[in-house]
């Protein structure tokens, strides 16, 4: 993975000093609340319901075991011994103290980490595929460009006070796992006819209050222009995006208002001036960064392993976990393993500091000391030998990290919701846990098969409910909490937004509603047909009729 040189380290150190100064000026009354707010947000610090919340950046979801141990130590020392992995591959601490955040940032800087631009109206953490570099369907490993984007976007002087937040995702695989169509900018890498790395540029996607899938603004962009083309897009947005209404301030609203053709015209006109300007990436820089992301020193192994095969045959629990949690790898004899942060009945995406240390140990022992965070809020050991998978399972299982539910209904994607977040209209974690408890029968869960259930506590959609096969949105009606249900959303290359099935429900009705949706699916499905495909084939009505019958 990328390693800081003295330039990177100096920038992070100077940021710590800057934020320490800003915090002390705020605490001494020299900065007002309004003046401090964007400064603390650009360091990931929210003022929440019970305490501040600090969001720590995990660039494109990649962590070393050393960094994870540091996060565990920080969670113990400055928080309550746990953290929450978010849908943007970051880590959130729910109970830090405002006056201690500069110290937390200083601790992070010691392991090449920070909280820069994890919130605020600026370019946020760059996200990508959790299987980047190891997926068999990968065309281009997007991590080098993601790192170059991270550096370019860090304290970008022109784009640090945009009309609204700005999210960029990069992807380089056949099957998109980075939801590029649901980002302000999505960069999809491919090889063009001349076998040169090129980018399909998506713009204007986003979830939130007005969910919109992005449009292609450029079918073919040569990779060296990635930064200047983004600058052209963001400059048009910075100048013309709405600043009078926070709900209409995202770039998607500007793109919709102008139409993609007019928007493209303006961007291309701007780009004429920016093309080949100094921020054009050169071969040397790409090479310098790319060498941090070369293949791991894999052993030459067979595709098959007796120890693994026997364990599958002899141990039903192991076999059903493998079915969900083990993913194909480009290298013979290796697999990627997802550790579930979704044990039934606990907050989705949460990990205790002990669990973090266990995962760090597993990464050191079995996966070259690295791990990834997925936007589905699980942790991934990307490079595990077939023969080691059983050992990983046993250890993970002993620490509640091996619930065999990856990709299933109880692998719920969920924001912190009203229990923690001051933006939320309703709680989301208790809905998730009540559904997990209602579907605790593993055989039934596996029979239902692939199903993504996403829960957001408000229309800001941190739980990505619009693209859940089943989406749940917390709404406020006359001061009480209700839940609106959508079905038919999907992430990936054939992404779609869900349709609302009807009036919202009370919290206690929710497990029953999900059961009814599943009943319709079980009854109507064709052999081998997943929930989402059944919804797409038969439409929303049969589900609606049964739920409201």
């Amino acid at each position: 993975m990328y390693q800081y040189d003295n330039i990177d380290q100096t920038i992070v150190n100077e940021r710590v000093a800057q934020f320490r100064d800003q915090t002390s000026r705020y605490l001494s009354g020299k900065l007002t609340d309004d003046e401090f707010r964007p400064l603390r947000l650009q360091n990931g610090l929210y003022i929440q319901r019970h305490a501040p919340m600090l969001r720590i950046a995990i660039p494109y979801g990649l962590l070393s075991s050393k960094q994870l141990r540091k996060l565990a130590d920080i969670a113990d020392r400055f928080d309550r011994g746990y953290g929450h992995f978010s849908t943007r591959q970051n880590l959130q601490l729910n109970w830090p103290k405002l006056e201690e955040t500069p110290d937390i940032l200083e601790e992070l800087s010691k392991v090449e980490m920070h909280a820069i631009q994890t919130s605020g109206n600026c370019i946020r953490n760059i996200t990508t595929d959790q299987f980047a570099g190891v997926a068999p369907d990968e065309i281009i490993d997007p991590r080098a460009i993601a790192e170059i984007l991270r550096q370019w976007s860090t304290f970008h002087p022109e784009f640090s006070f945009l009309p609204r937040k700005f999210k960029i995702a990069v992807s380089g695989s056949k099957q998109d796992r980075a939801i590029v169509q649901a980002h302000d900018i999505g960069l999809e890498f491919y090889y063009d006819k001349k076998q040169k790395m090129a980018i399909r540029v998506w713009v204007g996607g986003g979830l939130g209050r007005t969910p919109i899938l992005g449009s292609v603004i450029r079918e073919h962009l040569e990779w060296e222009h990635a930064l200047t083309y983004c600058e052209a897009i963001i400059r048009v947005y910075n100048l013309h995006g709405r600043r009078d209404n926070i709900y209409k301030a995202r770039i998607k609203i500007l793109v919709k208002a102008l139409g993609i053709e007019e928007f493209k015209k303006q961007v291309e006109a701007e780009w004429l001036h920016l093309k080949n300007s100094p921020n054009t990436i050169n071969e040397n820089e790409l090479k310098r960064v790319a060498k941090f992301f070369t293949s791991m020193p894999y052993e030459k192994l067979n595709d098959q392993d007796d120890v693994f095969d026997q364990a599958i045959q002899n141990n039903k629990a192991f076999a059903s976990w493998v079915k969900r949690s083990v993913h194909p790898h480009k290298q013979k004899g290796y697999q990627s393993v997802t550790l579930s942060l979704k044990p039934h009945g606990l907050a989705p995406g949460d990990a205790t500091s002990d669990q973090m240390r266990i995962v760090a140990e597993l990464a050191d022992q079995y996966s070259f000391g690295e791990l990834r965070v997925s936007h589905e809020q699980n942790l991934i050991l990307a490079d595990v030998k077939l023969k080691d998978i059983f050992n990983v399972w046993e250890k993970a299982k002993a620490h509640q990290l091996a619930t065999p539910n990856i990709g299933l209904l109880t692998d719920i994607i969920c924001c912190p919701g009203g229990d923690f977040c001051s933006l939320a209209n309703a709680k989301s974690i208790p809905i998730a846990t009540s559904i997990q408890e209602a579907f605790d029968d593993l055989d039934y869960l596996h029979d239902i098969g692939e199903l993504e259930l996403n829960i957001s506590g408000c229309m800001n959609a941190c739980g990505h409910h619009h693209i859940g096969h089943i989406g749940v949105l917390g709404v406020d009606k006359d001061g009480s909490e209700w839940y609106q249900v959508t079905i038919g959303g999907k992430q990936g290359s054939d992404a779609s937004l869900g349709t609302v099935i009807g009036p919202s429900f009370a919290a206690e009705e929710m497990p029953g509603v999900i059961k009814k949706l599943i009943d319709v699916y079980i009854k109507q499905r064709n052999p081998e047909e997943s929930f989402i495909d059944t919804v797409r084939r038969i439409g929303v009505n049969p589900f609606k009729e049964h739920v409201y019958a």
């Binding site: 100077e14 304290f155 002087p157 022109e158 945009l162 013309h240 600043r243 100094p278 921020n279």
Partner: protein
Amino acid sequence: MLNSQLILNQSIIDDEWTFVALPSGNEEIKKQAGKVVLFKLTGESSPSELQINETVIPQNSKIILPLSVYLKNREALKTRLKNNEIALWLATHETLHALITIEKDINIFPLIAIFVERFQDGRIFSLGNLLRTRYQFKNTLRAFGDVLQDQLFYLKRSGFDSYLIKTGKDVHEALKALQSFSDPYQGAVDIKEPVWKRRVRS
């Protein structure tokens, strides 16, 4: 010590320019969902004819005029412009279009100032960049209005060299912020090359 809030480059200096405001017009207060909307959108019509006509232009000093007032009185101001007595200001919602279509060479102005009503209005950075790079403005570029210490570094990198710090804020403290980061990553107006072209990286 000077009793001034004005920074030019790295120093606090006295302001030799007289700022000319527009007479207050019938400002329309827009409300959205109960909140007063403060921002004007880019390109939204600026002062009314009445406001422009009623602006009093001081005769015997170096003055910073609203763009609209300058455009209206362009002929009458020609001599004073030659004497380096005329500078311009515009607000972040105004576009540069009106200026650059009428004045082919904007370096006739010794100073252009941008008014930022609220410090979160990031259009000021794009305007600075465009003035310096696209329109090759070489003279003093000043930020005024809600200009605070914590945005100075970005203003500097976007081409500003003059900052009128908001009244009540410590201008000496603010000076320090111009040095927040020693080696920024990306190329911008002040340092054009990105770090990887400036320095050999390990």
